[in-house]
């Protein structure tokens, strides 16, 4: 078979396994960081520093009884978690993750395969990733509607509200950097900022950066905007009736979306995998992604939830006008 095809398959398997495992590790980090900020200990009993808590949670998820409610629409009910997880991974397929490399010829079977840096190298990477992540919201929507539960319906109604609020802000906030770079490809974005920290787009587009982060938090249901499963108001929203592995798939989808947003923020605004001084590019990208991930936890520990009408007010009356003004100014500057 073609060397590139084999390499791509290897990359797909690697990304699937690593990101699924990272989702488990992400929960551990989240609990530890939140505990630290709230002066608690967090998971501490299973293994050293509570590290084996991940394995314990995994075993619990896999062996838990899988319950489907009596009046639920069974087909859609089991389809919804798959949609969330699958779209999250499809979105990752257009994101540059590591430099391209060739597996040495000495290895049997897969020797000489070219492992590409992007799985699907579409030249409109940003739009594809954002569109696929938007399609991921069908998971919560269908889950809430299929489970014949009032909390679930409320959760999916909130999904629709949230989607109609943040979607415009996401699109408009990335539009300004796109105008500066003149391309929709994530690799072009990376190459435009190759000249070190000074050439990062964040210095030219600070407003767009903040807007993108806020919209990204809404897109991944992180805390100031996690209306869909607001425990204090609607039990668990769309996941109320889910248990076991189906619930776990929602979780994996949410965490890989967090990684995708972190990578996007790093590549679009903060120089991507370009070298910073003595730090090599792959480590720089990793550090940035870790920082953005930490930022999400930090925000979760610091800010309260907001109401759905407040989210709509924020997105349509504050963020959207700001984004439009930002685009107009950028357009004038680019034309001059």
């Amino acid at each position: 078979m073609d060397a590139l095809v084999i390499g791509t398959i290897i990359k797909v398997v690697l990304v699937l396994l690593v990101v699924s495992a990272l989702a488990g590790f992400g929960t551990y980090i989240e609990r530890k960081v939140l505990a630290f900020m709230q002066r608690r200990l967090g998971p501490a009993h299973v293994g050293p520093f509570g590290l084996l808590q991940i394995a314990a949670d995994g075993i619990k998820l896999f062996t838990k009884e899988d319950i489907i409610p009596q009046n639920a629409n069974k087909f859609i009910f089991s389809l919804a978690p798959v949609i969330t997880a699958a779209t999250a991974f499809i979105a990752l397929s257009a994101v540059p993750l590591f430099p391209t490399f060739i597996i040495p010829e000495s290895l049997p079977l897969i020797g000489g395969a070219i492992v590409p840096s992007v799985i699907a190298d579409v030249n409109i990477g940003i739009l594809f990733v954002l569109g696929m992540m938007a399609a991921g919201l069908y998971g919560p929507l269908l889950a809430g509607m299929a489970q014949a539960n009032k909390w679930g319906i409320l959760g999916s109604a909130r999904t629709a509200i949230q989607f109609l609020s943040y979607e415009v802000v996401t699109g408009l906030s990335v539009l300004a950097p796109i105008m500066l770079v003149g391309s929709l490809s994530l690799i072009d974005f990376n190459n435009a900022q190759i000249g070190g920290v000074g050439s990062w787009i964040i210095w030219q587009q600070p407003i767009a950066f903040v807007l993108f982060l806020i919209a990204g938090f809404a897109e991944t249901n992180r805390t100031p905007f996690d209306l869909l499963e607001h425990e204090a108001e609607i039990i668990s929203g769309y996941v109320t009736e889910y248990s076991g592995l189906r619930w776990g798939m929602f979780f994996i989808g949410e965490y890989s979306n967090m990684f995708t947003i972190s990578i996007l923020a790093a590549v679009i605004f903060c120089g991507g995998y370009g070298d910073i001084g003595f730090i090599p590019g792959w480590l720089a990208l990793l550090l940035k992604v870790v920082f953005f991930f930490f930022l999400m936890l930090w925000v979760r520990a610091s800010w309260p939830h907001i109401r759905p009408d407040q989210l709509m007010w924020l997105c349509w009356k504050v963020l959207m006008p700001l984004a439009v003004i930002n685009i107009v100014i950028t357009g004038i500057v680019v034309m001059i």
């Binding site: 009046n71 639920a72 629409n73 087909f75 859609i76 389809l79 579409v122 030249n123 409109i124 739009l127 594809f128 954002l130 569109g131 696929m132 938007a134 399609a135 919201l137 069908y138 929507l141 269908l142 509607m145 299929a146 014949a148 319906i153 999916s156 109604a157 629709a160 989607f163 109609l164 979607e167 699109g171 391309s183 929709l184 109401r307 009408d309």
Partner: protein, 184 residues
């Protein structure tokens, strides 16, 4: 080879899903198959190399069908089967078949390959969004502007229709102060 497999797979899936949309009595099945059919149509754009149009199809229809879901949620109990009261099966059959025949005739009319040609051939070196932009802002500038004006009119109409009493927030009003006019 991959393209052909993907094309036939997408074709079968799309036709099947839209059949479910039309034939199903369950609002949840109809909406879900509509949404996934629309997403799969984006696959055809990707197969023919029009990545940009494919992503636009994806983004636009994901949002549009999401709004439809909201209406479905408000009007129906989504876990139950909807009772349809169609008065005449003959009428449905006649209309359905004649519309289908019309569509087939329209799309099968330029059956010989010489008739089909690109009226605006794409620039050889242009990327996808550039090629779309070239056509949109030269040959099809007037339809583009007309569409923009129509959207503006629709937006103003929407604001005027929905904008009454927008200065009062129902969420912040106490329950006793909300006057219920419909209660009898």
């Amino acid at each position: 080879m991959f393209e052909q497999i993907a094309f036939y797979l997408f074709s079968i899936l799309t036709i099947g899903l839209f059949l479910v949309t039309v034939l199903s009595n369950n609002i949840l099945y109809a909406m879900t198959s509509l949404a996934s059919g629309m997403v799969l149509i984006a696959g055809f754009f990707f197969l023919s190399g029009a990545d940009f149009l494919g992503v636009v199809q994806l983004i636009v229809y994901v949002g549009a069908v999401m709004a439809l879901y909201a209406f479905g949620m408000m009007f129906f109990d989504v876990t139950k089967v909807v009772k349809e009261n169609n008065t005449s099966n003959v009428l449905v059959f006649v209309f359905g078949v004649s519309i289908a025949l019309l569509m087939v005739a329209m799309f099968a009319a330029p059956i010989s390959p010489e008739v089909i040609f690109a009226s605006v051939p794409p620039e050889p070196n242009a990327t996808n969004p550039e090629a779309v932009g070239m056509v949109l802002f030269t040959k099809y500038l007037v339809p583009f502007e007309v569409a923009a004006v129509m959207l503006l009119i629709a937006m103003i109409g929407g604001i005027i229709l929905a904008g009454k009493k927008m200065d009062k927030s129902l969420t912040k009003t106490e329950d006793e102060n909300i006057i219920q006019k419909d209660v009898k």
